[in-house]
């Protein structure tokens, strides 16, 4: 019993770290531009396909795959912002039209994915084969890598936002756009950079998760919906809230899968989500300004 429980907790924390990486990207974009990016899941899918290209077609290893895919996806994010969002920004009702535009982009890119890579599911090998045994607990090496890469990414993003000039500017824009403008921040440029960073986060998660699940053209919608629930649960735009929410919901997922069954994960998530909104309508750490 306790053996199972500990295994569930470990798997919950691992899930949490990867959910945190996905949700942080959504949260950053929402915080800075107040846009909910429906194309975030598609970026997750596309990076998995690019990784499949690198690994299965070109026979590259994971390290080089990361080095190639992440910058490509960063440019992808910048292009997405420049082409889809910037023409609409500051026009009437832009906060709504941009959301619909990202949804349309997501559908188009998913279909493009299907045309290019065909709808058949693809598989990636784990980053490292085999398992690690610690006393009587067994973990696959891939899970351990997911956990560490997830945690390192979170720490890196946190440091980037608090220590670097651009990171501070990103936080400034999310707190007061006019304030950011009048101190000379090029707000439009910062929007696209944030999109780029957010897509890189989706890509890290996409590549790490690909070996655990099959890669399909619609595979990004699950992580997108989960990411959305996490961001709203944590308080829209609050990065710390998002991190707490990711780990809480990751643990809930692991527990529910163990004791009740994996099909019950989503009902439990939504139930918890409704509960937290009933108690704190702006989410866990939402700002009450």
């Amino acid at each position: 019993m306790t053996y199972q429980l500990i295994e569930a907790i470990i798997s919950g924390i691992t899930l949490g770290s990867i959910y945190a990486v996905i949700a942080m990207g959504l949260c950053l974009v929402y915080g800075v531009s107040k846009i909910f990016n429906f194309a975030h899941g598609t970026m997750f899918t596309w990076s998995a396909y690019l990784a499949w290209l690198c690994i299965n077609q070109f026979r590259l290893n994971y390290l080089i795959t990361f080095i190639i895919v992440l910058p490509v996806m960063y440019c992808f994010g910048i292009a997405l912002e420049r082409i889809v969002i910037r023409p609409l920004r500051w026009k009437s009702d832009w906060q709504f039209t941009t959301i619909v535009a990202t949804l349309a982009t997501a559908i188009m890119l998913d279909n493009l994915c299907q045309i290019i890579f065909n709808p058949r599911t693809k598989m990636l090998p784990p980053i490292l084969n085999g398992t690690v045994k610690f006393q009587s607990y067994v973990m696959s090496k891939h899970e351990i890598i997911i956990f560490f890469v997830g945690i390192i990414t979170i720490i890196f993003v946190k440091l980037y936002l608090s220590k670097t000039k651009t990171g501070m500017a990103i936080r400034a824009v999310s707190q007061d756009v006019v304030g950011a403008q009048i101190i000379g921040i090029k707000v439009d440029q910062l929007f696209s950079r944030t999109f780029g960073i957010s897509v890189v986060l989706a890509a890290i998660a996409g590549i790490l998760m690909a070996p655990k699940f099959y890669i399909t053209p619609l595979g990004g919608w699950g992580p997108l919906i989960k990411g959305f629930i996490i961001v709203a649960f944590g308080g829209l735009g609050s990065l710390s809230g998002t991190l707490y929410a990711a780990f809480i919901l990751g643990l809930v997922e692991a527990m529910v899968s163990l004791y009740i069954g994996p099909l019950w994960v989503f009902p439990f998530w939504t139930l918890l989500f409704i509960l937290i909104l009933a108690i704190r309508p702006k989410g866990l750490l939402g700002s009450w300004g």
């Binding site: 000039k165 501070m168 500017a169 936080r171 400034a172 707190q175 007061d176 006019v178 304030g179 950011a180 403008q181 009048i182 101190i183 000379g184 921040i185 090029k186 700002s287 300004g289």
Partner: protein, 245 residues
């Protein structure tokens, strides 16, 4: 240093600035007064580049800055300090000040500017690790001005710094503004309180219904019967008579 000629600007659909002309010379502290909602703040925002002009010219150091984006005017040394303060409330005082030096010319000189700001506002130095949302009204106003100074500006456009402050604090803030002006930073100050602000200004402009209706040196303005009647006397409600004259 700053010249406006027949500037027109719209706020949404409203024609707010109507043929506004004024000039600010280097080293001056110019006061812009007038009733609420008559375009004073819009004028400052237009100068800063937050609002577009439809016609007329704005020249800063003899260069046209019409419709230049805000980041460019900041780099040229023109900084706007808003009435709403627009501080980053979830960051510390120090982070706000550092961000004030965001433009590429001010960033390398950050430590020097920080020293200057802390000397001027010792209170901010005491509170530098504090989150901005925990500051008092007076401290917030000082931080807004301090952050503006961090940009290395040679020209500050300050919008109603006395808003929401007690008379005592207002006095203190005006004293600091005078100190800043004495460091050879030119200031265009928007203010309702002509009595207080008049004492530190060299020149006064009056703005009504989007037009500059009066402009003269402080000495002459204070002795002008119309200004006296409308802004300095007991009968402060009689503002609108002025536009008729």
């Amino acid at each position: 240093m700053l010249q406006l000629e027949k500037v027109n600007a719209y706020y949404d659909e409203f024609h707010v600035l109507k043929d506004v002309s004024l000039s600010v010379k280097e080293g001056q502290l110019v006061l812009l007064v007038g009733p609420n909602g008559h375009g004073k703040s819009t004028l400052l925002k237009t100068i800063a580049g937050l609002i577009r002009t439809t016609s007329g010219s704005i020249k800063f150091r003899d260069k046209n800055i019409n419709n230049l984006p805000v980041d460019k005017t900041v780099e040229m040394g023109l900084t706007y300090i808003s009435e709403e303060r627009n501080l980053f409330v979830e960051m510390t005082v120090l982070e706000n000040l550092k961000l004030g030096a965001y433009n590429c010319f001010a960033w390398p000189k950050m430590n020097h500017s920080l020293e200057l700001v802390f000397k001027l506002f010792p209170r901010l130095s005491e509170r530098k690790a504090q989150i901005v949302s925990t500051l008092s009204g007076g401290e917030l106003r000082m931080l807004a001005i301090g952050r503006g100074l961090m940009s290395g500006a040679s020209f500050l456009a300050i919008d109603e710094p006395s808003l929401g402050l007690s008379p005592l604090l207002t006095n203190e803030v005006f004293k600091k503004i005078k100190d800043i002006n004495e460091k050879n930073i030119t200031i265009l100050l928007v203010e309702q309180n002509i009595k207080l602000a008049g004492s530190i200004a060299n020149h006064i402009y009056l703005m009504e219904d989007g037009r500059i209706t009066y402009g003269d040196t402080t000495k002459k303005a204070m002795n002008n019967p119309i200004i006296k009647a409308a802004y300095l006397g007991k009968n402060r409600g009689a503002v609108h008579d002025l536009s008729v004259n």
